[in-house]
Amino acid sequence: MKKPAYLGEFEHMVTLAVLRLGDDAYGVSIRKELEARVGRKVSRSTAYITLERLARKGYLTPRMADRSETRSGKPRRYFAVTEAGRAALRTSGQALMRLWDGYEQLLEEG
């Protein structure tokens, strides 16, 4: 039986950001999205390394856009969440939910 795939915390965050950004998910926008939503600075190198790792694992799929007028002519590298990525998100999310189960009330009381 294949082991269910789990995402690490930052992988989880990055995959969610890509999913949310849809067709506009590339390096700069993903970092901005993460920083805006999580409210903390995201290291550039950590973000790119995670994106490449997720791509290697088959959870994200990269796509090169056409050459750009700006960016010194360098095209954007867009990412999209693959079916495997969605499955891993679901598995990890559900695992987290199950872990969270009952804690919200506890934390609020505490």
Partner: protein
Amino acid sequence: MTELHGDGPPRLAEWLLRVTVRDTAASDGILGDLMEEHEANREGSGTGTRARLWLWLAILGLSARFLFLPRAEVPHRTSPSAVASRSRSNPIEVFTQSLRHAMRGFKRNLGFTLSVVAVLGLGIGANTTIFGAVDRLLISPPQHVRDADDLRLVHIRSRESTGEMRVSPGISWPGYHDLLAVGGFDDVAAYSRLGLEVTVGEGDAAHKATMAWHSTNFFEVLGVQPAIGRFSSDAEWTGRGVSMPVLSYEYWQRRYGGDPEVLGRSLTLASMGGDLSTHTIIGVAPPGFTGVELAPVDIWFTSISPRTAAEGPLASRRSRTSRAVARLAPGVTDEAASAEATARHLAGYAEEIAQNRYDEDSEVVLVPLVAARGPNPTAEAQVLRWAAGVSFAVLLIACFNVINLLLTRSIARQRETTVRLALGVGRHRLVCERLIESTLFTAMGAGAALLVAWTVGESVHRFLLPDVAFSGLDVGGRLLAFTLLLTLAAGLVTGILPTAMSVRGNIADGLRRGDGASTRPGSKTRTALLVGQAALSVVLLVGAGLFVRSLRAAEQLDLGFDARRVAVVQPEWKREVSASERQEALDRALEGVRRLPGVHSTAPASFIPLLSGARIRPLAIPGSDSLPPYPGGGPWVFRVGSEFFEAMGLAILRGRGFERSDDAEGARPVTVLSQSMARAIWPNAEAVGSCLLVGSSEEGVQCTEVVGVVEDHHLRYLVEDGPHLMYYLNHTHPARDAYSFLGDPSTRFVVGTTGDPRDVLDLIRAETASASPGVGFINVQVLSDRLERQFRSWMLGAALLTGLGLLALVVAGWGLYSVLAFDMALRHRELGVRSALGASTGSLVGLVLRRALVLTAGGVVAGLAASLAAAGLVEPLLFRISAADPATYAIVTITLLFVSVVTGVVPAFRATRVDPNKALQVE
């Protein structure tokens, strides 16, 4: 340099990202993102520089992160299994992973890393520093000389009148002309011995400088270019006396602060006779240029042209004051050129050979510039050989020490190694890791070594070879190559043994043994290394002790006079000052200086021991045919003032010394004899009151009464054949006018001081200057300074061996400590058991100290044996002390044993603190 050209990304940055990210699409995407942020930054901040700085920092940060990313994280479209298999087979991959592994290890054990690097840094540093001097003296061609391989120094090998064959660089001017006619030479330049002294300037501004003269084609033959200005050319040569001085770069910096306006300025020189001449400076030589030899030269003078005719004083073939350097014509061999030059040389000397005044078998020897310094067993070469040997011994000690440390660590890491082997990591991979680790250690050590060489190298060179010009430490290719070679060798030497020990052995055994600390593999090797370190330290310290004792013996040697309490004053008079004016000025100076505080006597002297020696002059003794031959030679004559013996600290043994009344007009001529002379002439009678016949029959022989006998003293050197025959004439002895050999006492006088003469040197100079307005330059020095060169070999030996010997002792002591400490850690359980069984603190301390003493004693015995074996080699270098000096050996032995006890104290203390309960629980 890579620029941010327009809006495009820097090409270097693009390349850097491609190489480190290792995926073109990914790196292009990242670079595009960075450029997008960069454009936004530039619009936001408005300053391009800050935005560019930001971009570069971002690129470098990203590149560094990707570079050190584990292989599995690198964005490659390959499966993990393929990555693993590649990592096993790809040597570059193995290398980078091993490198990362080693770097992590260094960071984890920073203290260990630093100590290994320090030990290697000192060991390699000592060798690198010494190599700088060896390279300058024995390997490098002279600096700035074009095609130095084609240049040859011209030497003449001929038989002396004593029958001895001698190779000399001296060439006569006609002999130089002979060489000019040799077709095998492109050109030949003449030059003088380097380091001649000249007085520059006049009055208070006068100072001494070193000079050399040369022919007009000298710089052209050497192919040297000036730093600024120009060199002389033969075309502008108009006759003798034109000197066109060129300053050395160092003198230009020192005296003129590197002012380019120095060109065209005039330079005033005072010759020995007091003549002043003025010359216009035409150029400055490049830094470090010393011609074809090594002695520093301040000013180069063009004093002759190859066209200058061999006539007048230059016509003599016997006066060989020039030296010659020739450039071989293309395609001409040394043999051919030498044969042709020899033929020309012998033809030139045909007349002398016919009269049997010159050796018909003389030949011209062509010596390559570098080799010219080697075969002569100069003091410098001797010292360098010593220094190289000693520094190599220090490197050996350092390597032994590092091997020991690495061995100790490999034992500590045994379990890690065994587990990794069990997990399938190949032995070759482990070997690679360990070797890389030890090479990295030595590489860092090499960095420290270069730092050592760079900071102290120049001072060490000046200390070792004060007569050689060094212009800063030249960290050139050869020095770096040597350091690299030494580093690789040390890396292999220190790596192989610990590596072999760490990866051998049975995995199952290793795992069964648990923490691996219950056994002590390699303990014999470590003991042997420790004994080796101690033995080498003993050899170095014995050497140091012998040289220190030699130096002390030399310093305490009774020369007869006390050179440390005598100052010598040598005024150089201008030519226009008459002899009577000089005499008056000198009398005033003698009186003035005598009144200075700390001065007890002053006396003029024709010659001064150690400084100017004396002259041999035959004399007659009434009733005797000749003087008996004497081992020390003589008789040497001095003409001195009345306070000479007091000033020099020479004791009058019988009779009296000179008195002022002896120099009064009409007084009888008197003499004082040295003890040996008195004994040689009148072995059975009293010399005082006898008569000595001074002078020759033509001039009228003077009966000079012997009024006293003074103690024997040395004449020139620390080591002399035996006591000399010496006699002293009073200052106004009638022989002074008849015999110019007696010298001119108005050129120098001695000053006897009660304390260190250095305290009053300035006062003496000022007093002499105020008394003698006609003086050009006053040279004042302490007589003992003349001995410095003679002391040098022992001083160098003592300093080198003491410094490096103590260093070796510290390293070896520390090695002993680490081994003891580690042993005690391994024997933790045993100590616990002993303690539980009631072992006393004393017995536990004794256990540790005994081990320390046994290890050291082994090293001491081996070291003493080695020292005794080498005694024959060292003996000739020592001064009045045996190379098997028992006192030195005893002191070194006690020192080593003391150090071993000191290093054993901390481990012994730890041994007494072992808690038996905890020690037994661990198991």
